[in-house]
């Protein structure tokens, strides 16, 4: 037996197990869940600031794609660049936001393998918080992506007919859609084996959806069968809604449908993601 008396590690406070047991709560309240999600969002923002390469996709892509597509396709599709911009810019906004969502899924998958997630699992926190935190933080990325695309458009001569309010509305709609669609990729992030397969699966979904839409070309130029698909493609509805807001300043039924679609996606994929994340534990 040791005869040396050991000092308590944290001398000011002696743990009383019975008191701690009495203080425990059977589950998290909604307020606690929100506070935990915000703490997780704070973590995601810190990580973004420390790894600026995470901003490449939301900065380079809007600049490069807007200019590139405008000058390459402008003449062929709309006669000149200036006439093509009202068609193109909302399309690029939708495309950029979608690829940004995909990055959320890839990053979550990378994150899940890190040691810190072992600790998140043993903490008494809501199971949705580690998933929802990054999704909330990614609002910053959608904001950058959407704003930069419009800015690039303005620089090369785009004059949105919807005015400032219309453009702000279009940006807000894209952020909401990015935020809701991110749950699909979060779900993929929780089921895929590794980050690379998240990327693979996501590309497989995204590429046809963005290009088989009205994002870059008018639908009337398409062959009949393809046109039918393009019309029901949700990306087309999003692009049309963004155009209505930015170019005309009108809130059309497409805007309404886009919002409904976003809510449906959250209602389906947020619970699925949490279930799948629980299985990881």
């Amino acid at each position: 037996m040791s005869t040396i008396t050991v000092e308590p590690l944290l001398p000011d406070e002696v743990v009383d197990p019975a008191a701690v047991v009495a203080r425990t709560r059977p589950r998290n309240s909604p307020a606690e869940t929100i506070s935990q999600t915000l703490a997780m969002a704070w973590r995601a923002l810190k990580k973004m600031r420390r790894n600026p390469e995470q901003f490449f996709d939301v900065t380079i892509q809007p600049l490069l794609f807007t200019a590139m597509f405008a000058y390459i396709f402008g003449g062929a599709i709309s006669g000149d660049v200036h006439n093509y911009l009202p068609l193109l810019i909302p399309g690029i906004v939708a495309q950029t936001v979608l690829t940004t969502c995909m990055a959320s899924g890839v990053q979550l998958r990378e994150d899940l393998d890190k040691g810190v997630f072992d600790r998140f699992k043993v903490l008494p926190i809501a199971r949705i918080a580690p998933l929802a935190g990054p999704v909330v933080a990614d609002v910053v990325r959608y904001l950058i992506a959407a704003s930069l695309t419009f800015l690039t458009g303005l620089l090369i001569g785009y004059r949105p007919g919807g005015g400032v309010l219309g453009v702000l509305g279009a940006i807000a709609l894209s952020i909401f859609i990015g935020w809701s669609l991110a749950w699909i990729f979060t779900f993929i992030g929780t089921i895929a084996r590794n980050a690379r397969s998240v990327q693979g699966i996501s590309m497989l979904i995204l590429f046809p959806l963005t290009f088989l839409s009205n994002a870059f070309v008018p639908v009337k130029t398409l062959p009949a069968g393809l046109a039918d698909f393009v019309k029901i493609n949700p990306v087309s509805i999003l692009v049309t809604a963004t155009r209505d807001l930015a170019n005309n300043g009108t809130i059309t039924s497409e805007v309404g449908w886009t919002l409904v679609a976003g809510l449906v996606v959250i209602a389906i994929f947020a619970p699925l993601s949490v279930l799948s994340y629980r299985r990881h534990i």
Binding site: L10, V15, P17, T24, R25, K47, V122
Partner: protein, 341 residues
């Protein structure tokens, strides 16, 4: 008044496919003690810990932590236990302070309180100089300390330590032991797993020895060691010594059969007390038996295992992988593999 046990587990079972990683373990840990779980890699120590910490579902059996049912109320259990694994579960992209602040905030502390708790813990663990450095610049020992600090931010009454000193240098190891003793002095109960008999001996009041998912022995360190003899006398006899004479002296003086390697002249004698070593040496001197070197070694985990189970404490993780390919993808194997590092 009887106090509730810190851990009261009966018949715990966890299977991965065909393999029963934990095969009916009973465990009772009293409040305020350090309880050691000793066993080789793949014995089921980590799996058992994970079940008690709500990280793995319990297949059969029942466990209570301070009277709270682990399977029925996992959320309450998570408010009662702190877990420190074999690998640092802190965020590499954040600083030490930011890590502790985040864990405090997630557990409902106010921002200022979380910051104060972080500062206090970093001071207590000698990390204040590194408070604002990214974790990637931390040494292995610093990471372990930060990891333990992260488990303590809300002062949980029960702390699980999964091989807290594996891979640490002797000095850092000693510091970690001091820290663990300090935790218990502060009212916490500690359940620690280890591969080292020495560590369990130094720290634990009671020890359970686990092998192939079963508890093969339980008792105080002294009780366990007595079951294998307290120590071994290792003798190297001079080249032209009468080895048979030496053997007879040992038998007569110590009453034990020595293990002799005639070619090298090495002789190992199991001893119940170290005092017998002196008796043997005096016997040698009187009979003119000359020796080159002498040492007394404590029984190793391997010897304890040999005595308790009839087989050594070899790494069994590899064997189990062959039996069950599914296991290769499970968390368990990944963790057990890390133990070796």
């Amino acid at each position: 008044m009887t106090t509730t046990a810190a851990i009261d587990a009966v018949g715990l079972v966890k299977s991965f496919g065909q393999l029963r990683a934990v095969d009916g373990i009973d465990l009772e840990v009293r409040q305020g003690e350090i309880f050691g779980v000793l066993g080789p890699n793949g014995a089921g120590k980590t799996t058992m810990l994970k079940m008690l910490a709500t990280l793995l579902p319990i297949d059969a059996g029942q466990a209570r932590v301070f009277g709270v049912d682990v399977a029925k109320e996992p959320h309450r259990i998570r408010q009662l236990v702190g877990v420190t694994g074999q690998y640092a579960s802190v965020d590499e992209d954040l600083t030490a302070t930011e890590n502790l602040w985040l864990f405090g905030k997630l557990q409902g502390l106010r921002s200022a309180d979380a910051r104060a708790a972080a500062k206090q813990l970093l001071g207590q663990f000698g990390l204040e100089d590194a408070a604002n450095k990214p974790i990637s610049q931390f040494s292995g020992g610093m990471r372990r300390r930060l990891d333990l600090a992260a488990s303590l931010i809300t002062r949980p009454p029960l702390i699980f330590l999964d091989e807290p000193t594996t891979g640490l240098d002797p000095r850092t190891r000693g510091q970690m032991w001091e820290t663990i003793r300090g935790l218990v002095a502060g009212g916490s109960t500690v359940l620690l797993t280890t591969q080292y008999l020495d560590e369990a001996d130094q720290l634990a009041g009671r020890i359970a020895v686990i092998d192939h998912g079963r508890k093969v022995a339980e008792g105080t360190p002294d009780e366990l060691k007595t079951s294998v003899g307290n120590s071994t006398l290792q003798l190297h006899l001079a080249p032209d010594t009468d080895q048979e004479l030496a053997r007879q002296i040992v038998r007569k003086v110590a009453g034990a059969d020595p293990v002799l390697t005639p070619e090298s002249g090495r002789m190992n004698v199991p001893l119940d007390t170290a005092d017998r070593a002196a008796d043997i040496l005096i016997g040698f001197r009187q009979a003119g038996v000359s020796i080159i070197s002498v040492s007394v070694a404590k029984p190793t985990l391997d010897e304890v295992f040999l005595a308790l189970t009839g087989h050594g404490a070899e790494d069994e993780a590899g064997l189990e992988d062959d039996n069950d390919p599914d296991l290769a993808t499970s968390d368990e194997t990944a963790d057990e593999a890390l133990e070796v590092q």
